[in-house]
């Protein structure tokens, strides 16, 4: 099975405080560490497991800049056979639809049975996979948390729906699936793995090579534009305890007793 996984490099914000720049047009990115978008990493692992069973190859692609070659190499160190960087000045400031248009052109250049994306990236939009599928007229399933290969023409997939329930469907190939975290246990990548793929060439394709229409990408094509960021104020906010660790623990205990949390 020939599998394409669309990945993206995002700032790792799980444990980090995010600050805005002076006028709120962006977050302060200098201090942030970029890494592969977490659901994308599960998607690559899933592709590797399918290919290990059935044969074929895994290609990882990203729409980005030269710096994003690093994230491709990380996924190649996991075992992906090929990495491709989709980069062009004209791609900058594309919205989700623009990114999907670039990926569509790349998919059309090859022959993939299955295209995977992560369910969503740091903007929480969960959009590119579904858009790409519609552009290609491929069937699509989002929030996929298990994949079983029926035969060469279709898959059995499970989607994560409310309450931890699973919606099971069959889906014809070729198709696009957006992968939810937790579907598998992504393998560890060490420095040795990264070094092993350091000399593998990663080709770059731009507007002309991909045959992307200029008017479908970039800021002019973007129907959706971020004006600025701001820090939200939801509700009244917590009463912050600022005592010593011991004092805070004592206060929490008093509160637990008062609120009926202590038996």
């Amino acid at each position: 099975m020939e599998i394409l996984v669309c990945v993206r490099s995002v700032p790792d914000t799980s444990d980090n405080e995010i600050a805005l720049n002076g006028n709120g047009t962006d977050i302060q990115r200098d201090e942030l560490v970029y890494s592969v978008n977490e659901p994308d990493n599960y998607a690559v692992e899933e592709a590797l497991q399918i290919v290990a069973k059935l044969g074929g190859s895994v290609t990882v692609a990203t729409v980005g800049t030269d710096e994003d070659e690093e994230v491709l190499r990380r996924e190649m160190a996991m075992g992906a056979d090929h990495g491709v960087l989709l980069a062009d000045q004209a791609f900058a400031n594309s919205d989700g639809r623009g990114i999907a248009a670039i990926l569509k052109s790349f998919v059309k250049k090859g022959h993939y049975d299955l295209v995977l994306t992560g369910v969503q990236a740091e903007d929480g939009a969960a959009q590119v996979g579904g858009m790409l599928a519609a552009m290609l007229d491929y069937p699509f399933a989002s929030l996929v948390n298990s994949i079983e290969v029926f035969d060469g023409s279709k898959l059995k997939v499970s989607r994560e729906i409310e309450g931890g329930n699973k919606e099971i469907s069959e889906i014809d190939l070729p198709c696009v699936l957006s992968i939810q975290t937790g579907i598998n246990e992504p393998r560890y990548v060490g420095m040795r793995g990264i070094r092993a793929v350091a000399s593998v060439p990663v080709p770059t394709y731009g507007l002309a090579e991909l045959g992307v229409e200029r008017e479908s990408v970039g800021p002019a094509a973007a129907k959706v534009k971020r004006v600025d960021y701001f820090v939200p104020t939801m509700g009244n906010g917590a009463e912050m305890l600022s005592g010593s660790r011991e004092e805070n623990a004592e206060r929490v205990l008093e509160l637990l007793a008062a609120k009926g949390g202590l038996k």
């Binding site: 405080e17 929480g124 959706v224 971020r226 004006v227 009463e239």
Partner: protein, 328 residues
């Protein structure tokens, strides 16, 4: 102003809470307009759903088809493309169904896609101004969308308060004939119910809930010791289940369990909306997190900026001290 539609989901005829929320969101886009509901399905279930939507929408488009008995996003997308006029705005809830439907729908309608909207500031000519969240709710963004060729918009469940107006008696208009035969490359087989775990977190009055901040499987014991001392149960957020540190039945959130404790100790949990959606009944929330900007502090009653790996053992000791004094 473009015509606004709300796609209504229902389960066996029981309409989702978001039906009223989408009506409220539509009024924010066009205060003078009157949105139209679209309900798909089959038989008595569809009739019940249409009836339930009539008090909320002046017009209800009913699409009856045996193939739409289960809400398959691909089939519904194809049905909507046939009946929705060009340039329309289509609203759908940002849930597992909306995520499945709306991005592809926007492509087929050649319309803007506006995902997971929290607030609608209003339309200015061809531009719609909305607020979205990014980075797991740590920051919000003002977003401007060109809706001149229509839009598919997903609305965050719970973000819009249903309007308190006089009940309408909406007209049900049958659109089934315009849809015709539908086929899809994805076919529904069955729904598998979530597995019951060894501990039922929905039954506990006090939950010690751990998130990514617990850092390692071995550290789960720290939370279990506190829960043991308190007589509480240990629950968790999604990353802990993804990492296989706790079983799925311990997960609180829209894709996990909905809990109604009296007190909720959120330990190393950032507070993504999918997690908060699983906490009901307005419990007293104590949040402990190293990141002072964690969104959980906006919804918690009491917050402590600290490392849970240090704080939880301290709290466990205090609980044990209290218990031993009480025993004497």
């Amino acid at each position: 102003m473009a015509r606004i539609f709300a796609f209504i989901t229902h389960k066996s005829g029981v309409v989702d809470d978001t039906a009223a929320e989408l009506a409220a969101a539509a009024r924010k886009i066009d205060p003078s307009g009157s949105p139209t509901a679209i309900v798909t399905g089959f038989g008595a279930e569809l009739d019940a759903a249409c009836e339930a939507v009539r008090p909320l929408y002046e017009e209800v488009w009913r699409v009856a088809s045996e193939t739409l008995h289960y809400p398959n996003a691909e089939l519904i997308r194809k049905a909507l493309v046939k009946i929705v006029p060009p340039g329309s705005i289509v609203l759908v809830a940002h849930d597992h169904f909306g995520i499945d439907l709306a991005p592809g729908l926007s492509i087929k309608l050649n319309a803007a896609f506006v995902p997971d909207v929290l607030t609608i500031d209003g339309a200015q000519g061809p531009a719609l101004c909305v607020v979205r969240q990014e980075f797991g709710g740590q920051v919000n963004a003002h977003v401007r969308c060109d809706i001149s060729s229509g839009a598919a918009i997903t609305i965050r469940p719970g973000a819009f308060k249903p309007l308190e107006n006089d009940a309408i008696e909406g007209a049900v208009i049958d659109k089934s004939g315009e849809v015709g035969a539908l086929t899809a490359g994805r076919r529904y087989i069955e729904t598998v119910a979530a597995e019951a775990g060894e501990v039922d977190i929905t039954k506990h009055a006090l939950l010690v809930s751990v998130g990514r901040g617990i850092q390692d499987k071995d550290n789960i014991a720290i939370a279990q010791e506190l829960a043991g001392a308190l007589g509480a149960a240990v629950s968790c957020s999604r990353p802990v289940v993804d990492a296989k540190w706790l079983e799925k039945s311990r997960q609180v959130g829209s894709s996990g369990k909905t809990v109604k404790p009296k007190v909720y100790l959120a330990c190393g949990i950032s507070g993504a909306f999918q997690h908060l959606a699983g906490i009901k009944g307005n419990p007293f929330i104590v949040a402990i997190n190293k990141n002072p900007k964690a969104p959980i502090f906006q919804v918690a009653d009491v917050g402590i900026v600290d490392d849970i790996l240090e704080f939880l053992p301290e709290l466990t000791n205090k609980v044990r001290d209290l218990r031993s004094v009480a025993a004497k």
